[in-house]
Symmetry: C2
Subunit: 278 residues, 2 copies
């Protein structure tokens, strides 16, 4: 069963609200938790944001994002690992239980996707002890294959689970995955992969896939407006033992033009509708 | 080993050249074969096109496209099957050895992708006897997952092979797949899937994935300009027994603005460069 309520990823309202405004707005409108992004977090200041979250009594569902491990040089890869270590510290400071990893695409000019994937696995291996020490979970978020070249070469749930199993075969650490319906809905093997993810799911992200996509990045749909069987996928993650919050993450030029309170209330209403089918 | 020469899919020059112009241009520039699309074929007339092809001595590598099987009603699905039967006849008339199947997405308003996939399998089963009778091979072309909702719910090579094995377990018919690098390059399981495709590969389509994609449909890159390890994938299909032509298929607003002779010559040169690495 899902945890009652709904988390919202602050990217959903990033064009309307700064992080302090989102913290205030989400708390006021009954959102159960917020997932900040590091750019907004840095703009606010980590300590100031932590204070604002405490003052508002708003839990944090996760921090976006670590990752971006591949780089053409060893120095570049080391710099990426160092940046991920800072992200883990920031997650700890704001009480984020999980750091979301968008793992990175091919280094500039490279055609070696297998090599990039190996760099991702090495990068996660390097930061896993830091995450454990900080008590922050790491969650690999497989991204839709249309982002394989430039954003994330981890593109299926099975592939993310293969990395989890390679780095943490006994499930001793808190390495897991984010299940985002936008990225995974098309996968013909998603039912079996979801079952395989039992105990590894650290987050369930929702939005919808509308056609035609006006933009590969910023045209995600509101739940219920598109082709994704969100309720069906939600049943699968619950069956796989997930008992956390669902989290809305909508990057959308259309929704970024909307009044933010209306947007948040629409998210809450749509999730209530969906839950009746889960 | 690839068959010497290079086929070009007529979509590559569709904004510059009608089908008769492409037949003439490709033959003159030393292209080894052409793959027409049905809209251009109908505009020319099937008999006239067949005559022009014979007169130019230009072989046909395939006909694009059949498929588009899912529909909300049984009548709609029957109409799709009938249209595919016409496509098989057209393929036979122009000497196309293979009909390329772009299988179709979700019916309007549907969220049942498993249901759409079943409709695809039923549709192919219905036309397979017609294809055999006509001596035309059917080739399922898995399309990139970004087209799952609206164009093709068959999105991985493994999934296409599962349909082949279900409908033709003994490989008695000529049901197979098109391997298009643009659609398949990201798949973490592509090496094993390619091996599994041995004897089933009816075409090898090439283009490249450049970033950022300006458009989901019409921003394919020229071979060598993007992130795809085309030579590596080509080695795999050769190892899987493919001995036909490579075929360029570039939908691109950028290349459609180019002089068509320059475009064709660029394709030929880029493939020669690639072949040195295969």
């Amino acid at each position: 069963m899902f945890k009652p309520g709904l988390a919202i990823n602050a990217a959903t309202t990033r064009k309307q609200w700064s992080l302090p405004e989102a913290i205030d707005g989400y708390a006021r409108l009954g959102v159960a938790a917020i997932a900040p992004w590091r750019d907004q977090l840095h703009a606010t200041g980590v300590d100031a944001a932590a204070r604002a979250l405490r003052d508002a009594g708003l839990p944090v569902s996760g921090l976006c994002r670590g990752g971006m491990f591949p780089a053409p040089t060893a120095a570049g890869r080391t710099a990426a690992v160092e940046d991920n270590r800072r992200a883990i510290q920031e997650a700890m400071k704001i009480g984020a239980p999980v750091l979301v990893l968008v793992c990175g695409g091919l280094p500039e000019g490279s055609r070696d996707i297998a090599g990039a994937r190996a760099m991702v696995q090495d990068g996660i291996a390097a930061i896993l002890p830091d995450a454990e020490a900080a008590g922050v979970k790491l969650a690999i978020e497989p991204l839709h294959p249309m982002y394989a070249a430039d954003r994330n070469c981890i593109n299926t749930l099975d592939q993310a689970l293969d990395i989890c199993n390679a780095l943490d075969p006994t499930r001793a650490t808190a390495l897991g995955v984010i299940f985002d319906v936008y990225h995974l809905w098309w996968d013909p093997k998603i039912a079996a992969a979801t079952e395989r993810a039992t105990g590894r799911i650290h987050g369930f992200h929702i939005s919808d896939w509308t056609v035609p996509l006006a933009d590969m990045l910023n045209d995600r749909g509101m739940m219920g407006d598109g082709a994704i069987d969100i309720a069906g996928l939600a049943k699968g993650v619950v069956k796989a033992g997930y008992s956390g919050l669902a989290e809305v993450e909508i990057f959308s030029d259309r929704w970024w033009r909307e009044d933010p309170e209306t947007l948040v209330q629409t998210c809450l209403q749509r999730w209530r509708n969906l839950l009746q089918m889960v």
